[in-house]
């Protein structure tokens, strides 16, 4: 759609939305040309969150970059760190132990669970179905707490290192995971029932935000957004990494090409993720969890792909033989999907904008929740740590059980 050179612009109402606005939680700006209540043209401006991380990577060591790149996003943090370490491991020809690959897979699928549950809540909220938000975010907490127990952090898990993972999963932790997975499987069944039977939800989402399969390919849409338009591509299936080639699962797709389809795909992926975690825990091979990686990476280059919750995450790394990379390039899935937003909103009502945009699941920073200590003045690091351990213990998560593994 050509935003700038259209005749009869004067008959239209121009509305700027964003970058800060009540409907969405990330800084994106839309300039809309409205004809009545319908959207005639739309211009999307992004880039408000550009932090120069690619440039930053060139000035930091390979090891520091694992942590820097993990902070690109607060939700798919494991996606970014895995995509990056995979590329570096390819260049350095490291044989990552099987057990580490399985642990990466388990953390990755837990991340997908919390991300999709979060999305389902946001989608519910955008269509005025806040009960769904409350339910899904309650369940998401269980996943976040589990991730905290396994890795030490609710977000930005820091589990990856070049050559493997930092922490092992013990037998007891494996059992805890299976218990929570079983509970979530029941809940997911209920959400699927809602999606199949709740008339208001079906009517509000069906036919909204249409994106034909051909447009998907032309505009480069990825992930659940593309799979809801009949594209079956899933990096985990077509270009397997970590332990996915040894696990049995389906790539979920739908044909309705609308927001309802995107909901169905994500719900189906929840079921598959739960099954994947169960399988991975049961098949978890014995052995070491990392190999020693050199500080200086031999000259070379590699691309790495990762199926993040929002779609394909793409990393390119070029090394020059030193301990600093020559170039790191990142293409997160939302950038690929942002191109399709204008197409989805073509000739649609203004009121559809929030849910259509939310349906590509744009990646806004899901930071760690903050703890506000009122009236206590300054608090020392140790005291804050103690407070947080106590806080979680009351919620049923005991960090005292965590053992900090030293690198072998």
């Amino acid at each position: 759609m050509d935003f700038t050179n259209k005749p009869n612009r004067e008959k239209e109402m121009m509305i700027p939305i964003g970058p800060q606005h009540p409907a969405l939680k990330e800084p994106t700006s839309f300039s809309l040309a409205l004809r009545g209540e319908k959207i005639d043209a739309i211009q999307v401006k992004i880039g408000y969150n550009h932090r120069g991380i690619e440039k930053g990577c060139e000035q930091r060591s390979y090891i520091q970059n694992v942590y820097l790149l993990e902070r690109i996003c607060g939700i798919c943090s494991h996606a970014h760190s895995t995509a990056y370490v995979q590329a570096v491991e390819t260049i350095a020809s490291l044989a990552v132990p099987k057990r580490a690959l399985y642990i990466r897979t388990i953390i990755g699928e837990l991340e997908r669970l919390h991300s999709h549950l979060l999305w389902l809540g946001v989608a519910g909220h955008e269509i005025g179905f806040d009960t769904l938000l409350m339910y899904t975010w309650r369940d998401r907490e269980a996943v976040m707490d589990l991730l905290a127990e396994l890795t030490g952090n609710r977000v930005n898990y820091g589990i990856n290192m070049i050559g493997g993972v930092r922490r092992d999963i013990t037998k007891e932790q494996g059992e805890t995971i299976l218990k929570i997975v079983a509970k979530l499987a029941e809940q997911t069944k209920y959400y699927i029932e809602i999606a199949q039977e709740e008339a208001t939800l079906i009517q509000r989402l069906s036919g909204v935000g249409k994106l034909a399969k051909e447009d998907c390919i032309r505009l480069g849409a990825v992930g659940p957004t593309a799979r809801a338009s009949g594209i079956t591509f899933d990096v985990r299936k077509d270009d397997p990494y970590a332990a996915y080639d040894e696990l049995d699962f389906k790539a979920i797709s739908a044909d309705s090409a609308d927001v309802y389809g995107r909901t169905v795909v994500r719900l189906g992926e929840l079921v598959e993720s739960l099954a994947l975690i169960k399988q991975a825990i049961k098949q978890l091979p014995a052995g070491p969890i990392s190999v020693r990686a050199p500080r200086r990476i031999p000259a070379g280059e590699a691309v790495s792909r990762y199926e993040a919750p929002r779609g394909e995450d793409f990393h390119y790394v070029k090394s020059n033989g030193t301990d600093l990379p020559e170039r790191v390039k990142v293409r997160a899935p939302t950038l690929a999907n942002s191109q399709a937003i204008s197409k989805m909103l073509e000739d649609r009502y203004l009121a559809d904008l929030p849910i259509v945009v939310a349906a590509i699941d744009p990646c806004f920073s899901c930071t760690d929740r903050s703890i506000q200590v009122e009236g206590k003045g300054e608090i020392s690091w140790e005291a804050l740590r103690q407070y947080s351990i106590e806080f979680y213990r009351k919620q049923g998560v005991d960090f005292r059980k965590l053992k900090v593994e030293s690198r072998k």
């Binding site: 880039g47 440039k55 505009l219 480069g220 077509d238 270009d239 691309v303 390039k329 293409r331």
Partner: protein
């Protein structure tokens, strides 16, 4: 998969013999001079079925700028690398093939300072509107000190 692809491309374009590297069964790298880029790219997209573009990576190599077009067909990825002289030559847009490439081309324009012929007019990405002219952060000789001089910091 990749062996076969290498054979097909080499048969089609004799000047590409020795320019194709097979990194693994799903990763193919290809180097082409810019005058031949258009026909190789066209063949990859239209004849060889690489109908999806992951992104465009730009690199500053000193006198030249290198660009890698990451095309894929399912799990098979074809990375086409080409080079142009910095500040002297221009790229041709690929938005005729992939309208979605618009944002990737805008990105190399802003961050590496390359000109792209045929790129539709529109707002810049990803640098802020008041970013100083001629400052391209991903160039190796770029110095962030310009930001301390009060330029581009609002």
């Amino acid at each position: 998969m990749s062996e076969q692809l290498k054979q097909i491309i080499e048969n089609r374009f004799s000047y590409l013999v020795g320019k194709i590297t097979l990194q693994s069964s799903r990763r193919v790298w290809l180097e082409v001079d810019y005058p031949q880029f258009a026909e190789v790219f066209d063949c990859a997209v239209k004849e060889l079925g690489f109908n999806a573009l992951a992104t465009i990576t730009g690199l500053d190599e000193g006198e030249k700028l290198a660009f890698i077009y990451h095309l894929y067909k399912g799990g098979l990825m074809l990375n086409i690398r080409t080079r142009i002289l910095k500040d002297k030559e221009e790229l041709q847009t690929i938005t005729d093939y992939f309208p979605g490439a618009l944002i990737y081309e805008r990105e190399v324009v802003d961050l590496l300072g390359v000109k792209v012929k045929g790129l539709p007019a529109g707002i810049r990405y990803p640098l802020p509107d008041d970013w100083p002219e001629g400052e391209h952060p991903l160039r190796k000789d770029w110095n962030p000190a310009v930001l301390d001089q009060g330029k581009g910091t609002n």
